[in-house]
């Protein structure tokens, strides 16, 4: 019996800016695509387009999301095919400053059309809790909440969790809620051990959502965005491995959180740490 293929919509969100939403969107999209799934990643940051730059396709943008919503281009014209991964496509944001360029109806039209073509639809949310962020999460089945181990980021993530539980299609239609996952980024085990940084467990305790992955603070992240390559494709780096593990867990694999194991310390190191 043929099963009806159901596309999965994932929002990458955080509330706070600069915590790594776009980096994570690019990495997770590339990671899922590299596992053989047809994947599209949408930039919802209208007016501040950046996913194209992080993905290295900024010079191939002709039409964007808003052009498609407004009927000035069709979806096929606006989608950019990734040059490295067969299954990966990017839908760039518009650079318009018109805040009302997005509407629920417009977004719905595009998501529905993309569901016919793709297995995973990844929505890269803008920062804040304004319209763009609400539009990015509205049709989500899953939310990956990107958080830094730092007070303002954790607080904003908690706010976002509240909004996910009330302002999404699933919430408004009393369906099973959006499934939320924590992705902790810019993590430094060393600083956690010194007591200068919130630990994974601290953040998990406060936000009370399952942990998808912990991305270590890594030089590879800046190197990757400098060159317009999703971190996951830089196979050597620890950040890449951490993102690929997060992707694996998302796809249902049982992968241990390897980077959390404290380094063994000698007696004197313990005494003076």
């Amino acid at each position: 019996m043929d099963q009806v293929k159901q596309a999965t919509v994932i929002v990458i969100t955080s509330g706070k800016g600069g915590v790594g939403k776009t980096t994570s969107s690019a990495s997770i999209a590339a990671g899922i695509a590299s596992r053989g799934f047809r994947t599209v990643v949408i930039d919802f940051d209208v007016g501040l387009r950046n996913l194209d730059l992080v993905m290295g396709c900024e010079r191939r943008v002709v039409y964007d999301f808003v052009n498609v919503v407004q009927g000035e281009a069709n979806l096929q014209q606006a989608l950019i095919k990734d040059k490295r991964l067969e299954n990966l496509y990017i839908l760039p944001a518009s650079q318009t400053r018109d805040k009302d360029a997005l509407s629920i109806e417009g977004v719905q039209k595009i998501i529905e059309a993309l569901k016919q073509e793709f297995e995973f639809i990844i929505c890269d949310s803008p920062a804040g809790i304004e319209k763009g962020a609400l539009m990015a999460m509205y049709f989500a089945d899953y939310a990956i909440v990107v958080t830094n181990p730092e007070v303002s980021s954790v607080r904003d993530s908690d706010r976002i969790l509240g909004i996910l539980a009330s302002k999404t299609f699933r919430a408004e239609n009393k369906m099973t809620p959006v499934k939320e996952f924590l992705l902790l980024t810019r993590y430094s085990l060393e600083r956690v051990e010194r007591g200068d940084m919130l630990s994974v467990d601290d953040v998990k305790d406060i936000l009370a959502i399952p942990l998808l992955g912990v991305i270590p603070e890594s030089q590879a992240v800046l190197r990757a965005s400098n060159s317009g390559v999703p971190v996951t494709l830089d196979l050597e780096s620890d950040a890449s491995k951490a993102y690929m593990d997060a992707v694996g867990r998302f796809l249902g694999e049982d992968i241990a959180h390897w980077h959390l194991a404290p380094k063994k310390k000698g007696f004197f190191a313990k005494l003076f740490s």
Partner: protein, 94 residues
């Protein structure tokens, strides 16, 4: 306690900023959850104001002496109203 912690202790510096961060977050987050989450209870400030108005119709009270707190425990919501009356509750002069 290791040597560094001991030195910090005598210097009077906070020994662990991460645990301080966690404590502060737990307080603010639980406060904000009640205000904005869990059924969207954002009427609390207004409720507080109206209760204050009603009470001050009958007696003179200090605004600071009225505390409204909404807590959730599973399916149970508890609305707690705490009014500290002055030593001698006076009816307002009309």
């Amino acid at each position: 306690m290791n040597v560094k912690k001991m030195m910090d202790y005598f210097r009077g510096t906070p020994r662990n900023t991460a645990s301080l961060a966690k404590e502060r977050l737990q307080i603010i987050v639980s406060h904000e959850r009640v205000a904005t989450r869990e059924g969207g209870v954002d009427f609390l400030p207004q409720l507080e104001q109206e209760l204050l108005d009603v009470i001050s119709k009958y007696m003179t009270i200090d605004r600071e002496q009225v505390k409204v707190h909404l807590a959730r425990d599973g399916d149970l919501s508890i609305l707690e109203l705490n009014v500290t009356l002055p030593d001698k509750a006076k009816t307002p002069a009309v």
